[in-house]
Symmetry: C2
Subunit: 155 residues, 2 copies
Amino acid sequence: MDTTTPNMAEHLEAIGRRLRQKNMRLTQPRQQVLEAFLNSRRLQTPQEIFNNAREQGINIGLTTVYRMLESLSELNLAKALLLHGEIRYIFCPPEHHHHLICNNCGLVEEVFNCPVVQMPTGSFKSQSHQLDFYGLCSRCQVKDTALNPSGEASK
Amino acid sequence: MDTTTPNMAEHLEAIGRRLRQKNMRLTQPRQQVLEAFLNSRRLQTPQEIFNNAREQGINIGLTTVYRMLESLSELNLAKALLLHGEIRYIFCPPEHHHHLICNNCGLVEEVFNCPVVQMPTGSFKSQSHQLDFYGLCSRCQVKDTALNPSGEASK
DNA sequence: TTATCTGCAAAAGGTTTGCAACTGA
DNA sequence: TCAGTTGCAAACCTTTTGCAGATAA
């Protein structure tokens, strides 16, 4: 798994700016959890985000994780998805995009190229759409039956 | 809202057959709840399904609703979707299809015409995809700001 | 300085499980 | 007949709320 990427600082700064636009603050706990969240790139339940943070020595409350996910969701910086019957979150950019989701380890890749051209016809008035692809990431294709190549995302 | 459609009986019979294939039974409570569920065509939380059934004089337990949703999901006859932050269920045919989901009342229409032609490239191996359109059904386009034209699906 | 945020504990909700009685095939 | 199902109550897990102290801007 990656360690902090070179542009992590910029990334966090950009998020901080967006938060401030909404009278929100990029506090230390938020920043620490965000770093872990950004690095993992896996769909995670609030519990998992919390556990991962704790494992990394970050002292944070579960409540804070929930509140952070709520704030990020409002800013379109996090998205909730259903995987394996549970609500899991992924940090993601606010632009229109789709996801490639690994059924095995929960890894998520973004796809900015939207293949949905033909909108539904009829009396229904579509305002948005959500498209996600489910399958296996390159890593899990190799390990295949292995249970959790990179974490605890699958049940 | 519709009342029992002419082919409801056939529909239930087909479901009964599928259930029996899996050593499951189409019992009276299941049948009654299914009728209500099929008629509503709205995304509903287990609680809502339960409440609706009770309102219609069907004596059933919440537990049974949960277990039925689990069984139907295994058979690909029900699907869980996230709407307004809650997990809601819709009864749906096992064939590949997409949904038009009304953000206001939770009404769901199926679309069997799949507009996803271009699959993602790269090392990710896609096994399936899910595409849903969110917007307003014809009814809610008219009433627009009205809160719950046809039920209690929105929060 | 002060509005926002924090962690904790408690409350509130949602979902699952254990069980004895019941029922469909 | 009897495996599968039922409703209820209790257990369990997830999410939200209240609050006094801490903190970013």
